[in-house]
């Protein structure tokens, strides 16, 4: 059972990687600051490095959202397995729909559903759900959007039109910082899940740090996931909400970086996905003449609203089946693999690749001087 949990946790880590590549790399790809494959390679390397440099791993699997331990829910490998199933399935569904949604919320949702099946609604700490998940989810896009809006106005007010191509260089640094921060935060989640599964299975002493092999495999899984691209979500965030120019891309990335770092270090953690999405919307409002596709933004917001309930329903169903015995777990696993394969095959029918994101040559490239155009137009004998 523990081996199954570890395999599923690593797959969750992989989906987390490709789901969240867009947070850092959607805008530099959209403005042409980085080529798609170069962008995801940088993001993958920084996620790999980030996973190794941070030593902070959560002591509780849900951060207090579920009443764990004595008097609360007994965290077992089966419960973690059911929760992970909900999280992975929701990550894959939102990926096929091209919706940026929080992987952490999906994991919490799956665990909530599994915990409710195990111990009833008393298992959930509602005040933590409100203060750590629901209110921050509403506030995050507004904070990032405000910062991004003002930063965009500043970027356009200070620079001349012909100077604005320079913002592309700045984007490389800000997006890299977001990737590094992502690696230090998100890989720790899976390390915590695997470590707690090992402790629950009596394969590791309680209150001990993750073993090196756990850190290594989690780092590799999130980096591999990041490198595969998650092009659908990159397309939505980079092109679907608004058309992004280099000053906007830099302003949005700077807003994302500043908001994430400020919130993480002041004890008010905000979802990277929601911050990045808010920044893109803010920069769309901030540039005169730009428009925001509110229909797409509304779809994304709807996805955020139903992330926890949807993952919870899957987690609960998986936990119900798993509770009946080993054959319930086998059915869970078989159904999950079938659904995952179905989603993968569906994705092949409407494939989105790096080619779909490559900037058209005419965009953001200054027209050549007339003389050069004439020269270029002369046919060689």
């Amino acid at each position: 059972m523990v081996a199954l949990v570890i395999a599923l946790a690593l797959f969750f880590d992989f989906t987390n990687g490709f789901h969240d590549t867009a947070n850092a790399m959607a805008t530099p790809i959209a403005t042409g600051a980085l080529r798609p494959h170069v962008a995801v390679f940088i993001a993958a390397v920084l996620n790999l490095v980030g996973a190794f440099i941070s030593t902070t791993v959560a002591n509780t699997i849900s951060g207090g959202l579920i009443n764990e331990g004595p008097g609360g829910v007994l965290i077992t490998p089966t419960l973690i397995f059911a929760g992970l199933l909900g999280a992975v399935l929701w990550n894959l569904v939102t990926w096929i729909l091209g919706l940026p949604s929080s992987s952490s919320h999906a994991l919490f949702g799956g665990l909530i559903g599994a915990a409710i099946v195990g111990s009833g609604f008393n298992a959930i700490n509602l005040s933590v759900l409100l203060s750590k998940i629901l209110i921050p989810a509403v506030l995050a896009p507004f904070v990032a959007g405000l910062v991004s809006f003002l930063a965009t106005r500043i970027a356009y007010a200070v620079t001349h039109k012909r100077q604005r191509e320079g913002f592309r260089i700045g984007q490389v640094f800000t997006s890299s910082l977001v990737s590094l921060a992502h690696g230090t935060n998100d890989a720790q989640k899976t390390m915590g899940v695997i470590t707690l599964a090992l402790i629950a299975g009596n394969l590791q002493p309680a209150n001990t740090q993750p073993q090196f092999w756990v850190i290594a495999v989690c780092a590799i899984a999130i980096a591999a996931g990041t490198y595969t691209g998650g092009w659908r979500i990159i397309k939505t965030l980079g092109r679907g909400i608004t058309d992004i120019e280099p000053p906007q891309g830099f302003a949005a990335e700077a807003a994302t970086t500043a908001t994430i770092l400020a919130s993480t270090h002041l004890g008010f953690a905000l979802s990277t996905t929601q911050v990045a999405s808010g920044s893109v919307i803010g920069t769309g409002i901030g540039r005169k003449g730009a428009s925001v596709r509110w229909r797409t933004a509304g779809r994304i917001a709807l996805g955020w609203v139903i992330t926890i309930p949807s993952a919870a329903v899957v987690g609960a169903l998986a936990a119900l089946l798993a509770a009946v015995g080993w054959w319930g777990i086998v059915i869970d696993a078989v159904v999950a693999v079938t659904v995952f394969l179905g989603i993968f095959l569906l994705s092949r029918r409407s494939k989105v690749s790096a080619r779909d994101l490559t900037l058209a040559p005419s965009q953001f490239v200054r027209p050549k001087p007339r003389g050069k155009i004439k020269q270029a137009g002369v046919a060689k004998p």
């Binding site: 405000l146 003002l150 200070v158 001349h160 100077q163 500043a258 004890g267």
Partner: protein, 73 residues
């Protein structure tokens, strides 16, 4: 419940950090970018350097091991 004072600090820090970074980089481009007065190029470079230091501060915040080093600066 939610700690609104912390949230306010996050908003202010994000505004100062995000807008500050963009302002510094934009001023760098303004003075050291194309179509600029050559005499002010040095000032533009200074703005780029300060912007780079702000990014370095971000790296220090991301990497816990650099925290003590940052505290000594």
């Amino acid at each position: 419940m939610i700690e609104w004072a912390n949230f306010l600090v996050v908003v202010i820090a994000a505004l100062v950090g995000g807008c500050g970074e963009v302002t510094l980089f934009a001023l760098g481009l303004r003075f050291a970018g194309p179509e600029t007065d050559g005499r002010l190029r040095g000032l533009g470079v200074v703005f780029f350097v300060i912007c780079g230091l702000l990014v370095a501060l971000g790296v220090c915040l991301v990497i816990p091991a650099l925290g003590p080093f940052f505290a000594t600066i």
